[in-house]
């Protein structure tokens, strides 16, 4: 049966200040297929689909849906045309129930909302039909991430979508949940829905799609049938060069214990236990990775170690000193560096200059400040040197930090933390949202720190990354460590099971360490005693 085109986006152009997000894109989707939109971060996939959903207006180009040209000025239009979208960041109002979220925007304003039982009934029926298991009266803010995603999908189906767009839906799922989702999507396609699936993960493309369109830097590279291609080819199209994780598979002899966490309990922002009794050590010349689906306590663990969240029970020792209740500055003075998960929200001050951001931790002491006065010359020369050494591309260290590209911003944060020669480096999602080139660079720098004597704790949701860089991997689930896994690629399925709270399928005693080359690393950086403990007790963020 010849495929019928359901959607055609013709010559779509969309620019933002300084960047062409979509550069004359031609995109065609057949009825009833699963079509992947593949590309790196920043390739323009989300922008294109946001145009389809009416969140952006294209600068040029046309959209044809079911054969007819249409204009989509707002999400309302898209919904009217039966186009549904499940966004990467959920579009659910947390204080409202599932039912309220589903009917939002559906009724004219004067409609009185009593007697909504029949709506609840319809929701339950749909939920059962698609196997989504959603309670209409649950409050969205209290649902887990996976449940919220199911609500989002149900929302699109409830609004009668024929075409469903999903934007990186697996970022928040375990490997098992991911395969469940992909199976679910195939079933939807069999029922007649058309699926567009945005991703940057090659395995998913191979697993679920019929065809795939590859975007790179705002342009379409190719549209191919999935059956006729393979991951290597797709990767090449995605980045324009063969992708290898060009990272040395090496190992140092681990030194003494630098970070020691014992029976740590941390509450989350809502006051519920997020970390429930975690214990581990990190030694000098060693990278310990923490794997897990986001939302299982990693954020709280990182914040507690950094001194930005209070510890309700347990202890943290850095360089042999009890830092459990010490301020972030005290820990910084002891030699801890922290590359935070939320780069913009926590790691930098966007309106400040690059130079001002470089001195964020040490602005108050010599050589950057003498007798309270900032030393401009010292600050600028330090900034220039840092930018040069860590390859941060910029025009001038006195330009506003916002003007740097995403990758360079992360490099700048990395530069700032690493230039301080930390004894202990805490890194949380270092490569989120940045391109492949910067990713490689950042991971190389982390390894370089390890070789130079630092102890590194790497928290990441990207298993590839963890397996490439870590010496040991701890798997975290629901606030606890499920177990330790050597970074051996054969064990990836076991890791996936542990990330979902299940026992690994193979026998632990049979696990072999990953093949690594032993190299000679620098001596671990010596731990000094703390200079001055101002004893600031920080309130929770």
């Amino acid at each position: 049966m010849s495929p019928e085109t359901i959607l055609r986006m013709e010559n779509i152009v969309k620019t933002f200040p300084g960047v062409i997000a979509n550069d004359h894109i031609n995109f065609e989707v057949y009825q009833g297929e699963v079509h992947c939109l593949l590309g790196e971060n920043g390739a323009g996939k989300t922008v294109l689909m946001s145009i389809l959903y009416g969140l952006y207006q294209p600068d040029a180009g046309r959209i044809y849906y079911k054969g007819r040209p249409i204009t989509i000025r707002s999400p309302r239009d898209a919904i009217r045309h039966r186009i549904g979208m499940v966004h990467q960041h959920f579009m659910l109002v947390p204080t409202l129930t599932v039912l309220e979220n589903l009917i939002l925007g559906q009724y004219p304003f004067f409609r009185i909302l009593n007697n909504l039982d029949h709506v609840a009934q319809k929701i339950r029926a749909m939920s059962e039909e698609f196997g989504l298991n959603v309670d209409p009266y649950a409050i969205c803010g209290e649902l887990s991430v996976g449940e919220q995603q199911r609500v989002e999908i149900l929302k699109a189906l409830y609004h009668g979508a024929d075409l469903l767009v999903l934007d990186e839906p697996t970022a928040v799922l375990t490997p098992q949940e991911t395969s469940q989702l992909l199976t679910f999507l195939r079933r939807l396609a069999e029922k007649g829905l058309t699926i567009i699936f945005i991703t940057h993960k090659l395995e998913e493309v191979m697993m679920v799609s019929d065809r795939v369109t590859v975007l790179r830097q705002g342009k379409v590279v190719a549209t191919v049938n999935t059956a006729e291609t393979n991951p290597r080819e797709l990767a090449k199209m995605m980045v324009g060069r063969p992708v290898l994780m060009e990272l040395p598979r090496t190992r140092c002899a681990p030194g003494e214990v630098v970070l020691s966490v014992r029976d740590l309990h941390v509450l989350d922002a809502r006051g519920l236990p997020a970390v429930k009794g975690v214990s581990f050590d990190v030694r000098a010349n060693e990278v310990v990775g923490i794997a897990g689906v986001s939302g299982n306590g990693q954020t709280e663990l990182a914040l507690a170690i950094a001194g930005l969240a209070p510890v309700s029970h347990g202890s943290i020792h850095l360089c042999g000193q009890d830092v459990t209740h010490l301020s972030p500055r005290a820990r910084s003075q002891l030699g801890m560096a922290h590359i935070p998960e939320d780069r913009h929200g926590m790691g930098v001050i966007l309106p400040f200059t690059v130079a001002e951001n470089f001195i964020l931790h040490d602005y108050y002491r010599p050589p950057f400040a003498v007798q309270q006065f900032l030393q401009q010359r010292a600050i600028l020369s330090y900034a220039w040197e840092l930018a040069r050494k860590f390859d941060v591309r910029l025009a001038h260290v006195e330009e506003s930090f916002v003007h740097l590209s995403g990758g360079n911003q992360q490099k700048a944060v990395v530069a700032r933390e690493l230039a301080r020669r930390p004894r202990f480096l805490l890194v949380n999602q270092p490569t989120r949202g940045i391109d492949v080139g910067a990713t490689e660079y950042v991971l190389q720098q982390i390894l370089a720190q390890r070789d130079a004597g630092a102890a590194v704790l790497l928290i990441s949701t990207e298993l590839e990354e963890l397996f490439a860089v870590s010496d040991r991997i701890l798997v975290m689930y629901e606030g606890q460590i499920m177990g330790e896994v050597p970074p051996n690629k054969e064990l990836i399925e076991d890791v996936g099971l542990m990330m979902a709270g299940k026992s690994p399928k193979s026998d632990i005693s049979s696990w072999k360490p990953a093949p690594r080359q032993e190299i000679v690393c620098e001596q671990p950086i010596a731990c000094e005693t703390i200079i001055e403990d101002t004893g600031d007790k920080e309130k929770p963020v």
Partner: protein
Amino acid sequence: MDTSAMILFVQTILSATWRLATPMIYASIGEVFTERSGVLNIGLEGFMLLGAFAGFAVAYFTGSLALGILGAVLCGLIFGLLFALFTVTIKANQIVVGAAFNLIGRGLTGFLYRAWFVNKAQGVQAFPPIDIPYLNAIPFLGPVLFRHNILVYCTVPLMLIAGFVLYKTAFGLAVRSVGEHPKAADTAGVSVSLIRYAGVLIGTTLTSLGGAYLTLAHTNQFVEGITTGRGFIALAVVVFGRWSPKGAFWSSLLFGLFYALQLRLQAIANITIPYQFLQALPYVMTLLTLILLRGRAISPKALGVPYQKSA
């Protein structure tokens, strides 16, 4: 003080409480809608003054109280549109804009009052109290509850209608979402700007109405600065009432009680506090209530942040 005098005293206090709370009830219920939609309007004092003056001026020149009320409402609408233009469309800092409207309200009403009225010092025929037959004969509560003017009575249906609209209509649902997660509302097809304009306008209109109450019912003339900070207290009332119309109503009554006590405590013979201490009572109590709340109240998440579509 003997028992009957004591009873009379309590009755006058309670009766005054409702009357004194009325402008704050209007303003705070209005501000509930504004803040629930995500906009923070600290210019309530200015809007109240504008409404007080507009209501008075129109009633004075037309001789009609109804037209005076209409004038206040229109005033609230027009200035509210201006406020919304700056905060929702231009997306300026809402606190700065609110401060500007306080200045404008104070200056404009003072200026026009002195230009038009200062040598004509007469008042208007204010709203008379309406006695509700039969009910006003109930012992004790009768005189307390059922001898007020119409604007005071209207506060109760206002609270009920406001609650109904906010929680039981599609519009209210939209308002609540826009203040919590504007992006979600936007993607669901709700126009964030439109809802915020509506929220602001409801707030400014009701606040102006509350101001008109002061010059058309509570007293019968306009005096410069007649609001004496009630607009600011309304802000605290919204927090204390946890952003709900019912909460705002009862919290306003609480503050009305403070005002009433301030005015009447002097009547008690054996209390010789300098009157300024009593004058400061509402403001001190506001501080104390904020302390007691200890930030436990959760404001609408998007409050005070302009919404920008990334386009």
